[in-house]
């Protein structure tokens, strides 16, 4: 039996899964080759690493504070996917990559992802495990440790991609004071104004979640973004229909989607 008040959400989930999986299958069969608009924040990643090479200074990467056991785990997963991409680029360009972390469960994943990135670029011997650093699981202890590293190591690029909370502004200001190019991304809308103020490029909400597919250039993964766009069209239609119906006094649609 379906839980009361969740029938509409289940319907949306089923439609969404069918759309995204359908588009994934089409992309896998080669019947779909999506063109994706340029996301400045993602194209800036390679530029930033190139700048680190020119300056001979390291890159700093962090995925924030959304635990893998929390409902916001998707942000951390998206950040980890981008960590793999940055690790590959850092290895290719011969740049030192420092990954600081405050989530204990992410530590083994971070070590593995950075190492795999170096191996994938054919420079596995350059991987240095001391650059994947767990600092603390206390937010502010982590923050003070991370800003210390950013100052001491004189980073030239700072990537803050994942689930960020109160520490976002302190860390981004530390990067700004270092003169680092900063690319940040989160779905936490309370932190987005801080990032927009201080960072050079910001991935807002879904841009972060789609980033891994974007940088992979894999047609199948990009296909899922087309499915996402269909879902957004449905959402726009439902919002407009709900607003119109509510305006004329029919609130059934709005009531159906109330959680």
């Amino acid at each position: 039996m379906i839980a009361s008040g969740r029938i509409a959400a289940l319907g949306i989930l089923v439609v969404g899964v069918m759309l995204i999986v359908g588009v994934l299958i089409l992309a896998k069969k080669g019947k779909l080759s999506p063109k994706i608009r340029k996301v400045p924040g993602l194209t800036a990643i390679e530029e930033s690493i190139g700048r680190c090479t020119e300056m001979g200074r390291p890159v700093h990467f962090a995925v924030g504070r959304s635990s893998l056991t929390s409902p916001n785990a998707a942000e951390t997963i998206a950040g980890l996917s981008l960590l793999g991409h940055v690790a590959k680029l850092a290895a290719q360009y011969g740049v030192e990559l420092i990954f600081t972390n405050q989530l204990p469960e992410v530590q083994p994943l971070g070590e593995d992802i950075v190492q795999q990135g170096f191996v994938a670029s054919g420079k596995g011997e350059q991987y240095d495990s001391k650059n994947v650093r767990f600092l603390s699981s206390f937010a502010m202890a982590y923050t003070s440790g991370a800003i210390g590293i950013m100052h001491r190591e004189k980073i030239a690029a700072n990537f803050m991609l994942g689930g960020w909370y109160a520490e976002s502004l302190i860390m981004a200001e530390a990067g700004f004071n270092q003169g680092a190019i900063q690319v940040a991304g989160t779905t936490q809308f309370a932190q987005l104004p801080f990032f927009i103020t201080v960072c050079d490029y910001v991935l807002i909400g879904e841009e972060l979640l789609a980033a891994a597919a974007y940088v992979s250039e894999d047609q199948v993964q990009l296909g899922s973004l087309v499915g996402q766009d269909f879902m957004k069209l449905i959402a726009i239609f439902l919002v407009l229909a709900g607003a119109l119906l509510s305006t004329v006094g029919l609130s059934d649609l709005a009531r159906l989607f109330r959680l």
């Binding site: 998707a74 202890a141 789609a210 891994a212 996402q228 919002v239």
Partner: protein, 210 residues
């Protein structure tokens, strides 16, 4: 297939099964399924707690190496290691309610934590100054909206003109809410797509795959 690939395959199978269980449990009323889902979530918490040991080993390795090599500022690393070891020993020996542990927590950790939090106030002020500089048309709109919201929240301006409160409330409840809901809806759809990519093994980097 190497042992690493096999390990990853097992991890993906576990992720897939657990993902399906917790998703179905959210929509279906079934006491049996709820109990399984609660167990699964407890396991996740236990596994996450074990990983704290991995983090501690990482700290020991990095800072221990620095102390042994007598690198620059090695005494800071030594203080960190001593503090960590002392807290672990006191916590394990006398539990977290032991007076020494309580002393460490309330007289060292808590004030240090609060001091760093308090920096946020200064950073917000400097960030606000940077934000409110008019460089573009959007910047001008932001400046006007920001000032009106500040006035709306100040206790005295409501007395000067009641309209400030009406405009401030409208800014927060109409354009601000619309933008936030747009981000939330798109993020939710993005989470669904990312979850499917992970469950269907299209998105491999996040579990350490190539």
């Amino acid at each position: 297939m190497t042992s690493i690939d096999l390990r990853r395959d097992i991890a993906y199978v576990i992720v897939f099964i657990m993902g399906i269980i917790t998703t179905v449990e959210y929509f279906v009323v079934s006491p049996g399924l709820r109990s399984i889902s609660a167990d699964v979530q407890s396991w996740a918490t236990i596994v996450a707690a074990f990983s704290l040991g991995v983090g501690s080993i990482n700290l020991l390795r990095i800072h221990g190496r620095q102390v042994v090599k007598r690198g620059q500022g090695y005494y800071n690393n030594a203080v960190l290691l001593a503090g960590m070891c002392m807290t672990i020993v006191v916590g394990l020996w006398g539990t977290t309610s032991h007076p020494t542990y309580q002393f460490i927590f309330f007289n060292i950790l808590y004030p240090s934590d609060t001091a760093v939090w308090s920096l946020l106030g200064f950073y917000i002020a400097s960030a606000a100054v940077r934000t409110l500089r008019i460089r573009t048309k959007e910047g001008a709109v932001l400046l006007v909206a920001g000032i009106l919201t500040l006035i709306k929240n100040s206790p005295t301006m409501g007395v000067v003109w009641g309209g400030f409160s009406v405009i401030g409330d409208w800014l927060l409840s109409v354009p601000n809410s619309a933008a936030v809901r747009g981000i939330m809806i798109c993020s939710a759809i993005g989470v669904l797509a990312l979850g499917l990519r992970v469950l269907l093994r299209q998105e491999r980097t996040s579990l350490g795959g190539r």
